[in-house]
Amino acid sequence: MKEFFRRNKKSFAPVQREGESQIPDNLWAKCPACRELIYQKQLTDSLKVCPKCSHHLRLVPHEWLGLLDHGSFVEHDADLWPADPLGFVSPKEAYADKLRLTQEKLGQADAVISGLGTIDGRRLALAICDFSFIGGSMGSVYGEKMTRAAERAAELELPLLTINGSGGARMQEGVISLMQMAKISMALTRLAAVQQPHIALLVDPCFGGVLASYPSVADIIIAEPGANIGFAGSRVVSQTIGGKMPAKHQTAEYMFEHGFVDMVTPRADLRATLSRLLTLYGAQTNAGLPRLDARLIEQEVRAGG
């Protein structure tokens, strides 16, 4: 396992930015799964996969950029800033204050980073959730950035990669947050119309309204080993039916067994897998096959079936 990481680390070296790592910036870190102390450098070299138990630690967006060719990422829509459309206040805190404090702590505006980059020289659009920003929850900025990423991919005729780690909709934006599920789905119809793939990566944790919309209808769905993935968060379940969901029923492996994801791919293999997929989709375009309206194909398939 270790050799494997070493072999791959050049092509997938997480870009670390000071103060963004979940692991304290000192010599030793503790694996949240097996509680073993790990030499910090070893953890960084292994893309934050525990060398003792193979637990995949959470990455923040800037670390995910290590998937791309070095220096290829160009960020878009970084100036989108969350509003407080409902003037939402609970005794725990006002939403406006929570936003400001989280922005100050993380140094970013909201829970999605998006832009363009390359993998082995092949261009793609990507949008990455940040679970550390209010649980990666989907509010207006999240929805707008995902939508623009999909529209940009469609316009430039590029594949779209979404990396999805989110607790679900952002309840402080009420029904506006719910509607982002529809808004992003709308934009993905444009990507389908130019026959470019949406590849969704499900990472720990991916729940609720995020899972129940665009990632679950992606052309390719990849999950990370051990990731917690499910429709109903345990809190929702206990509210509704008075019981806790056994965790083992909401994992990447369980989703795979039941046919809802194409593959469970260890982080060390991810870049190579994406590169191969991009080649396969690119190959079809290069062969000069006639480009049919995706909608017509869909209807023909349906009529034929």
């Binding site: 800033w81 409902l86 725990k92 909709a169 309840m171 934006e173 009420g174 982002q180 709308m186 509704t240």
Partner: protein, 292 residues
């Protein structure tokens, strides 16, 4: 927009939640009976089973065939066990999806009625792909080539509601609610006390008037004084008037126009700043007025 009845204007958000959940309210099949003729109910998802929490079928409305899909709650404990309290399982959403495609194939306008606490969250539903079933429905509605009118007649519970709620017109009964999470769920997280649900209901702005003001509901349908359950026939007639009017408008348009408007309608939902503009005190991304 139909004007609200003055006698209910002083109700709190929590009062509306109680009215929205009242089992005596008109449910989808009551709407169908009052609104349409010649209803033929269709059953089953052709994959697993038939979910009684979602009903659907064809009927005639103003001489035109329409497809109906709606959540169905029961009137009493026995009915609600059969209807699973209007909480669909994946086979319910896959039945809905089948009927959406059926409507598209034959060019029948689609009328959806929303009335659910949410999609069923149990393990068996996860196992059969609840998230996938909901996502497929939402995706299908984004570019379904027939006009769609969705009416929230009671509870609009989160993704389980939106799965049959992506539409050209979003209407809400006066005492209906539409919420991203139940008030109890929100309260248990942000108030750390489910009993604070009335506060959460107010903060999330879930009433028909709120959702209309936020630019997400296109119209609010007046209910009889005291709520829809006090006079089902009058409530259904009130809804029928508004639904017929919107259907008339939509069927007059080319489908390409309808689809372009549907895209813009959802594209415009969201409120945020662009930083440069925020400094100047200008808010970008305000929802645009709905194109009619």
């Amino acid at each position: 927009m139909t004007t609200s009845d003055t006698s209910t204007e002083t109700l709190t958000a929590w009062d509306r939640v109680q009215l929205a959940r009242n089992v005596q309210r008109p449910h989808t099949l009551d709407m169908v009976r009052g609104l349409c003729e010649h209803f033929v109910e269709l059953h089953g998802d052709r994959r697993f089973g038939d979910d009684a929490a979602i009903v659907g079928g064809m009927a005639t409305l103003q001489g035109r065939t329409v497809m109906i899909v709606g959540h169905q709650k029961g009137r009493n404990a026995r009915e609600n066990v059969q209807r699973h309290f209007g909480m669909p399982r994946p086979e319910g959403y896959r039945k809905a999806l089948r009927l959406f495609r059926h409507a598209e194939k034959f060019g029948f306008p689609l009328l959806c009625f929303i009335d659910t606490p949410g999609a069923d969250p149990e393990r068996e539903s996860e196992e059969r792909g609840q998230a996938n079933a909901i996502a497929e429905c939402i995706m299908a509605m984004t570019n379904l080539r027939v006009p769609i009118i969705a009416t929230v007649i009671g509870e609009g519970g989160s993704g389980g509601a939106l799965a049959i709620g992506v539409a050209d017109r979003m209407l809400m009964m006066e005492n209906a609610i539409y919420s991203v999470i139940s008030p109890e769920g929100c309260a248990s997280i942000l108030w750390r006390d489910a009993a604070k649900a009335p506060d959460a209901a107010r903060a999330m702005r879930i009433t028909a008037a709120d959702v209309h003001e936020l630019g997400i509901a296109d119209a609010v349908i007046a209910e009889p004084a005291g709520g829809a359950h006090t006079d089902i026939a009058a409530a259904v007639e009130s809804a029928a008037l508004v639904i017929r009017e919107h259907l008339e408008q939509l069927t007059g348009d080319e489908i390409a126009t309808t689809l372009a408007c549907r895209y813009q309608k959802y594209r415009a939902i969201g409120r945020f700043h662009e930083r440069q503009q925020a400094l100047l005190g200008v808010q970008a991304g305000e929802p645009l007025p709905f194109v009619v």
